[in-house]
Symmetry: C2
Subunit: 207 residues, 2 copies
Amino acid sequence: MKSKQKFLSRDDIINLPKYHRINLINTLSGPRSANLIGTQDSNNIANLAIFNSVTHIGANPPYLGVIMRPLTVVRDTYNNIKALGHYTINSVNEKIYKQAHLTSGKYPSHISEFVEVGLTPAYVDGFPAPYVKECNYSIGLSYQEEHLIACNNTILLIGSIEWVTIQEHGLTSDLCVDYDILQSIAVGGLDTYYKTRKVERLSYAKV
Amino acid sequence: MKSKQKFLSRDDIINLPKYHRINLINTLSGPRSANLIGTQDSNNIANLAIFNSVTHIGANPPYLGVIMRPLTVVRDTYNNIKALGHYTINSVNEKIYKQAHLTSGKYPSHISEFVEVGLTPAYVDGFPAPYVKECNYSIGLSYQEEHLIACNNTILLIGSIEWVTIQEHGLTSDLCVDYDILQSIAVGGLDTYYKTRKVERLSYAKV
C-alpha cells in the first residue's frame, strides 16, 4: 500500500513539538541494535545502561564505537569507562528487553542498575567490568579513543575488543552471529522494540 | 535453549581465518539499519551505495552520522559528499533489499548504480543529490563535519538534516516511524537481511 507522501523541510522539523521531533529524528535512521553497556565504578558498584548507538568500526584489529550524549549531567557509563578503562557490550534479547529498557531510568550513581532491574553481573577472570549473564553474547572492551562532535557535543567513544563470549549454537559455521537463534532485539528510537527475523543471506555482489 | 558458551580472547579473534573474523566482528554489534546513500558527481552521474552504519547523532538540531571505510581506494560516496556538500539517506525495505545489496559491487565511477541495479533517482526541487523513489522514506542532508578515527583510519561523517519525505501512513500519531508498516529492513554484518516485527513500545522508565 502506498499512501500520501509527507514532506518536511528543516524548518518544519525544527518547529515540531519537542517530543514529535525527538521521535521522528530518533526513528529515521532505521532499526538499531539494542545493547547494554556494563561498567564498574571506584566503589565497585556495577553500572548498566542501555544504548542504541553501538556500531562497527573495524574488524582487524576489532573495534566497536558508541555515541554518548553530551556531558551536561553526570554520565556514569562514560565516567566509569574513562576511569576504569574497560567495559562490556551485551546484546539485548527477546527475554530481557523490558529489564534492559528500565536501565534508562535515572538511578543515582550509588545504586546498581543490575540489582534494580533484576539482571545478573558476571565476570571474566582478570577483567574488571561486569557483563550480563542473561545476554546470549557479550563483548569485553578496552577504551581506545574518543571524538567530541563539534555540532552538538555528543561523543563518539571507541573501544578495542578484548574478548567475546557467545552461545555457540548462535554462530553459523563461518562465524556470523545468527540473530534469529540468539533472539537479538532491535529498537526504534528510544522505546519501541522489534524482533528480527532472517529473510535471506545474499552472496558477495560481483560486477 | 542454552548451548555451550564459546569464549574467544583477543588473540583467538586476531588469529581467526580472515572471513570468519570479518563475519564475527561485523555481526557482534547486533542488527543494524540498512540504508542507501545517494550522491551525484561533477558529471551528474547519480551514485548509490548501501551502508549499515547510519546512526543518530542528535534531534535538535537534527543530525545523522555514518562510518565510512578508510580512503585507501576511491570512495565515490565520500568524494561526492565532500565535493557537492549534499547527499540523501534512504531506508531499505523488504521489496528492494536485493537491489540495494547489489550497490555494494565495485562499479566504476562513471557507471550509475541506480541504472545498474534498477532503482529510480528522484529529486527534491533545488536539492542536488538524488533520493531513491522506491524507498518509503528518504532524508536530504548537508555535510556538517567529519572525524578521522585514529586507530584504523575510518571516518565518522556527520550531516545536518535538510528535509524528510515519508509515506504518511508509516508515522504514528506522535511521529515515530513504524518499521512494520514501512517494512524497514535490518542487516547482520555485510550480507544477511532481517525483517523487523514490533514486539512492544515501552513507556519512559521512571525511577
